[in-house]
């Protein structure tokens, strides 16, 4: 109640108190009121007391108002302080890793593999630090090292290192060693914390298309109406055709790590991807190169192709995220006579055709209320590689069921069981149990 309304109320109270006594008088005489002295003094006394109380009340209200004001002041002060703390925190965060434009990312994994039928068994570990450096608004550097411990050996590799120049909104050019943009799984899915299963699908990884390229690349994205189209095109060292008779199974396959560019051939390739919907992308990638060995009079062409599709939907109706991916690759290498002397028998003068790929579906009930359940992801993958009609002599198909538990957005424990099926001259079937801990940072 504010002081003015209090005065009004007390005036009413006063007039009511006196009113009753005066009413009788006013009936007799309208101008003068006669009140007995004692009563008048009593009323005067009551009036004085009321005035005092009102004064006290007024003082009290004044105090409360000051208090309210100081509480409000305090609130703004706290808000200001919070803002300042946030800003300071931000400055500290920004300053924490040196000069603002560098980021150290990467990933690591530890995998246990147990195969039946006398296959592989044991632990392996990988560590891939990634150095990202935004040199300025136009120039960006990306480098990744790979340390891999498997069996008794540690291998070290420069997975990629390339520098990019952002020419404009639609074009970036880069040079160096980069992940093969034509191969969707390799460029966007193979990292241990991204890949939902502990191992990689047949044919697309360590298979029918290179993982990395050394050369130049141009890439970018263009919105076209409601669609978004991304492209990448590159020229790079061509792969090298394997013609070494001492390893017959490898004849007619490609050595991708052709850093010296033996044969001096250039490969050209790229990928175009279209987001038909924000949650659905399809893509086509290809690479073309002459891979004729040094000194061979003719060209031997290799043509590698890939189609991919990816669908990721966060659905309330499904109570979670549905993630489906498919990729299929074809490899064609022109006819070549690998064994002109005929020492290895028939079948080494021919074109090499291989294909394979994978389809994977994963579901994670992210909208489930149970904390434990929403971190669980179910995965199923079917992958295959068909090369029975090549010196490798095996077609392989696998069905893999996986169960992942996400400890954080990029830390996961994956378990999987792989049912293997092989056919062809050199078939040897192994079912595999895999357990992996992976983290991205």
């Amino acid at each position: 109640m504010n002081p003015r309304s209090l005065t009004a109320v007390s005036a009413c109270v006063l007039s009511l108190a006196t009113g009753g006594a005066l009413l009788a008088q006013s009936a007799d005489d309208k101008d003068t009121i006669t009140v007995p002295k004692r009563e008048f003094q009593q009323l005067l006394e009551e009036h004085r007391q009321m005035m005092q109380e009102m004064k006290a009340l007024k003082a009290q209200i004044g105090k409360t108002a000051t208090l309210e004001k100081s509480v409000a002041d305090n609130d703004t002060a706290i808000e200001d302080l919070e803002k300042q703390i946030k800003e300071t925190k931000q400055i500290a965060k920004d300053a924490a890793q040196g000069s603002t434009k560098f980021h150290l990312g990467g990933y690591g994994s530890a995998t246990y593999t147990a195969q039946d039928n006398g296959g592989a068994n044991g632990f392996a570990a990988t560590f891939n630090p990634i150095f990202l450096w935004k040199i300025n608004d136009k120039v960006f550097f990306e480098g990744e090292a790979e340390f891999e411990l498997g069996g008794t050996e540690t291998s070290t590799a420069l997975e990629m290192a390339h520098i990019s120049y952002i020419a404009n909104d639609y074009l970036t050019v880069s040079a160096g060693k980069f992940l093969n943009p034509a191969n969707y799984f390799v460029e966007r899915q193979h990292m241990a914390w991204v890949n939902k299963l502990p191992d990689k699908p047949l044919a697309v990884y360590d298979g029918l298309m290179p993982e990395t390229e050394v050369g130049f690349q141009a890439r970018g994205a263009v919105p076209v109406g409601p669609f978004k189209i991304g492209y990448a095109a590159y020229v790079a060292n061509a792969p090298q055709l394997k013609t070494d008779l001492s390893s017959p199974a490898d004849l007619g396959s490609l050595e991708y790590n052709n850093f010296d560019n033996v044969g001096r051939h250039i490969s050209t390739g790229g990928r175009v991807g279209i987001h038909l919907l924000p949650e659905f992308e399809i893509g086509y990638g290809a690479q073309y190169a002459d891979v004729a060995p040094v000194g061979y009079g003719h060209s031997v062409k290799s043509f590698l192709q890939s189609v991919d599709a990816s669908y990721v939907r966060d659905s309330i109706a499904l109570k979670g995220v549905l993630n489906a991916k498919v990729q299929w690759v074809w490899s064609h290498i022109d006819r070549f006579d690998y064994d002109p002397a005929g020492g290895l028998g028939d079948g080494f003068d021919r074109a090499m055709k291989r294909n394979g790929g994978y389809a994977q579906i994963a579901y994670r009930p992210t909208h489930c209320d149970m904390a434990f359940v929403k971190n669980v992801e179910f995965v199923f993958r079917y992958d295959l590689i068909q090369q029975a009609n090549t010196p490798v002599g095996v077609d392989e198909r696998r069905s893999t069921v996986g169960l992942d538990y996400w400890i954080g957005p990029s830390t996961v424990v994956k378990t999987a069981y792989e049912f293997d099926h092989q056919s062809g001259a050199n078939a040897s079937r192994h079912n595999t149990l895999l357990i992996q801990l992976a983290t991205g940072f």
Binding site: F140, S174, S310, P365, M370
Partner: protein
């Protein structure tokens, strides 16, 4: 060793489907929640939508709080290049990330 292997793989064959079934059945509470909207989405509404649409497409998205502005600056360029995001989308996502922590 062989027997451990066999036990493990048999265990996996039995446990995985059972666990999967148990978890699906266990998740019976149908209360679906919209993705945790931050008050700051208002500061860059388009960026927030683009972030939600793009940044969980290839991997789980990380909380905007997990990195500072300078780090997000670097990562957003990295992702723009890696994922072939349009420059405009990348700018709006960047504005959202800046505004949300």
């Amino acid at each position: 060793m062989q027997s451990i292997e066999r036990t493990l793989s048999n265990l996996a064959k039995v446990l995985l489907p059972v666990l999967a079934f148990g978890l699906v059945v266990g998740c019976t509470t149908p209360k679906a929640k919209a993705p945790a909207g931050k008050s700051t989405t208002a500061a860059a509404p388009q960026g927030a939508t683009l972030w939600a649409q793009n940044c969980g497409f290839c991997h789980n998205s990380r909380s905007p709080d997990s990195l500072g502005n300078a780090q997000w600056d670097v990562v957003t360029v990295h992702m723009r290049l890696r994922a072939n995001l349009t420059a405009d989308d990348a700018r709006q996502i960047s504005a959202f990330l800046r505004s949300s922590h």
